[in-house]
Amino acid sequence: MTNNSIQNIDSPIDPEGSQGELEEWWRYFTFNKDHKVIGIQYLVTAFIFFLIAGFMAMVIRGELITPESDLVDRPLYNGLFTMHATLMIFLWIVPSLVGLANFLVPLMIGAKDMAFPFLNALSFWMVPPAGILLLSSFLLPAGTAQAGWWSYPPLSTQNPSGYLLNGQLFWCLSVVFLGISSIMAAVNFVTTIIRLRAPGMIFFRMPIFIWSVFSAQLLQLIFLPSLTGGVLLLLCDLSLGTNFFQPDRGGDPMLYQHMFWFYSHPTVYVWALPAFGIFSEIIPAFSRNPLFGYRSVAMATLALAFVSSIVWVHHLFASGTPEWMRILFMFTSELAAVPTGIKVFAWTATVWRGKLHMTTPMLFALGGVVMFLFGGITGVMLGAMPFDLHVNNTYFIVGHFHYIVYNTITLAMFGGLYFWFPKITGRMYNEGWGKIHFWLTFIGANLTFFPMIPLGLQGMVRRVASYEPQYQFWNVVASLGAFLLGVSILPFIANVVISWLQGTKAPNNPWFATGLEWKISSPPPKENFDEIPTVTAPPYSYGKPKTWASSPTTEG
């Protein structure tokens, strides 16, 4: 198939790369249809929301450093954790992974752009307005949404202010917009991966990152309409006086819970699978070994996407869930441990007897794997339904999922950003500052999230602004960890900004890695490939001297 989608941007192609890139900084503020520009737009936008949501987390931890409610009043506290979660999920994790995938997918499959460049730009340009709309609810007299990111009715539809313009309405609109944006992105990714692969790139020659983006976006496509629909119905209940979820008027609040988790469990894999994909790219490159069991990892990715679609009721074990469902969904939930186990074992075996280079991306990848192991084991504990009845809705859950969303997924994101930084910007980052960033993050993340495990076991309920004094010790540790985690982001920002502006020029393939993206210049030329490459071998051909294609050019 020929690629007819490239829009010619009337500026000369600069073979030297980044010089031209930086002079065209204004391109990043336009409706540009180049997937590389859109990828960076997504990444930078998402990162700004990440900083805002991270700041909210630090205010929350500031409140929790003492047992009393003394820093912010209770409505504001409830607004802060609601907004923290909503921003982190819908405006950091999802768009940042979409951004990275946007930049990489066409390069990794040997395409000149995404299948639908216009749709791609449209998906991106829905994100900033939706985010600003959500944040603007801080200025409303009624305040932001305060019902938690689940927004369970009837709490979420109470609207004590009586105003039509209230935070919950803004929340619903924002989530619906972001949902539509994500569905469009999913259509684009799935089509691109099915239709635009270079000749010879059969499914079993695709890098695992592509497998995981494919599986993740397939999940978005199938399940996101359930959330978007549920939130639309919620909006009707809230603003138009319908009674879908109102128990006193014949509605069923459990219906919302099912619609919500029917999407929101699979969505965890929409975030986690690309993170696993990043691990699967970084670890072989810095072990100099092929990914051990490539085919079984690829199949495990699909299997995980499948299993993740039949486990959602484990979020409702303590809810109005009949026993047969509790038991059935306990078995399906525990099954998810099998494909994830396959992946962890595969990464471990890849490192085994390798020639390891502990660079910044590798540190983030291995650190992420270790913490994923902890998050996964606590997840298996939660799947054991009788135990879940004790820790459900406690800090044990909060600790467990932050080990996944921060300590695994966000670490993978950082690892990926360092790994592909030379490709994206054409410059090398500073290795020393990268390692400082890693160690501050690793220590800060464990200090922040580990204490939540004992807190939950002791029965500290989540979403409380004040708590009994016996919980204070672990809360102080977590709060100090959170402040360290806040500081840990500074070397990253400094490193990225300074290296992008004046780092040493990057060669095409600084890591001697396999993969089509490393065969072209850094940053890639406008149309990615002068000539669409033909793929003849499976990925990760490490281990045999000189099978990775182009030898690195060491210019600059």
Partner: protein, 307 residues
């Protein structure tokens, strides 16, 4: 020589893993509050099992990774290749089948634990005999049989949750209270109702938890086995004063329980003090105040006994 050394190291490490897992599994009992129901003992047993198994797996993978990281590092400039092995059917089959067996073991064990618990919940298929026709309609108190033959006929207590107060009613004696008193070693049956939003019934020492759903009547059962004072918390986020929605729970000896009920029955009903209402009336000083709107605390329950 290196091979022998590695085998010895492996044997020592596996021994360490086993000892550490068993030890941590024992420790796990002390990480939770004292178990105060028979269900809590079951859940602690399950948790100990999960910690033992989890530690073993965590240390196993960590050992492999750590050993590789320590021993397999290449000099910075040496980007020569590792080994070309792309996988091994035997190893991959092993690490697919092992987790399958492990999760079947975990799920099977959890199922066994759950069978031994007797908590009813929204519906029940395990053959325990509970209050009949609890879904939707009014509970039918006459058609009940004690679900554990060794337990005495269980009292029924109605629990009402609203933003942000708990109220308990003992229909046999027509007593209402904002404290929950339970007789020790008896199978307790609670009837949970919410007047507004979702709430959750949770006493950490009891280990079990049940969401309360407005518009539904949910049956919840357990057997307290330890006399003492505990704290009931709302476990399902319910709005502004969620963190203040507490009630004291007393597990009493039979005599104390009977005496408390008798005394409470003589007291005239009066509005109970309420933390949320008190804080709403006079909110403490905060560094930042948003003064956003909030749902007002519901009228305090009117009860015979309040703490």
């Amino acid at each position: 020589m290196k091979r022998i050394l590695e085998t010895v190291l492996l044997a020592v490490y596996v021994a360490v893993m086993i000892v550490a897992s068993v030890w941590l599994g024992r420790q796990a009992y002390s990480w939770m509050p004292v178990p105060a129901t028979s269900e809590a003992q079951q859940i602690d047993e399950l948790f100990s099992f999960l910690v033992t198994l989890g530690t073993f797996i965590f240390l196993g993978v960590m050992g492999m990774l750590g050993y590789a990281i320590i021993t397999c590092q290449a000099p910075p400039d040496d980007y020569s290749e590792g080994h070309p092995a792309r996988g091994s059917l035997k190893i991959e089959a092993l690490w697919t089948i092992t987790p399958i067996l492990l999760v079947l073991w975990i799920s099977g064990y959890s199922f066994k634990i759950y069978q031994r618990m007797d908590i009813a919940g929204p519906t029940d298929i395990l053959g325990h005999k509970h209050l009949s026709s609890m879904q939707g309609g009014e509970p039918n108190y006459t058609a009940t049989t004690p679900s554990k033959s060794n337990a005495r006929s269980a009292p029924i207590i109605e629990v009402t949750a609203k933003q942000w107060a708990w109220a308990f009613r003992y229909p046999d004696k027509n007593v209402t209270s904002t404290e929950l008193h339970l007789p020790v070693n008896q199978h307790i049956r609670l009837v949970l109702r919410s007047q507004d939003v979702l709430h959750g019934f949770y006493v950490p020492e009891f280990r079990i938890k049940q969401d309360i759903i407005p518009g539904r009547i949910i049956n919840f059962e357990f057997t307290p086995i330890r006399v003492g004072k505990y704290l009931l918390k709302d476990s399902h986020f319910s709005g502004t004063y969620f963190a203040l929605m507490h009630a004291n729970v007393y597990v009493d000896s039979q005599e104390n329980y009977d005496r408390w009920l008798a005394v409470a029955a003589t007291q005239p009903p009066a509005p109970a003090p309420n933390l949320a209402a008190a804080e709403h009336a006079e909110s403490p000083k905060r560094v930042f105040s948003s003064n956003w709107y909030t749902v007002l605390p519901a009228a305090p329950p009117i009860v015979n006994h309040s703490s």
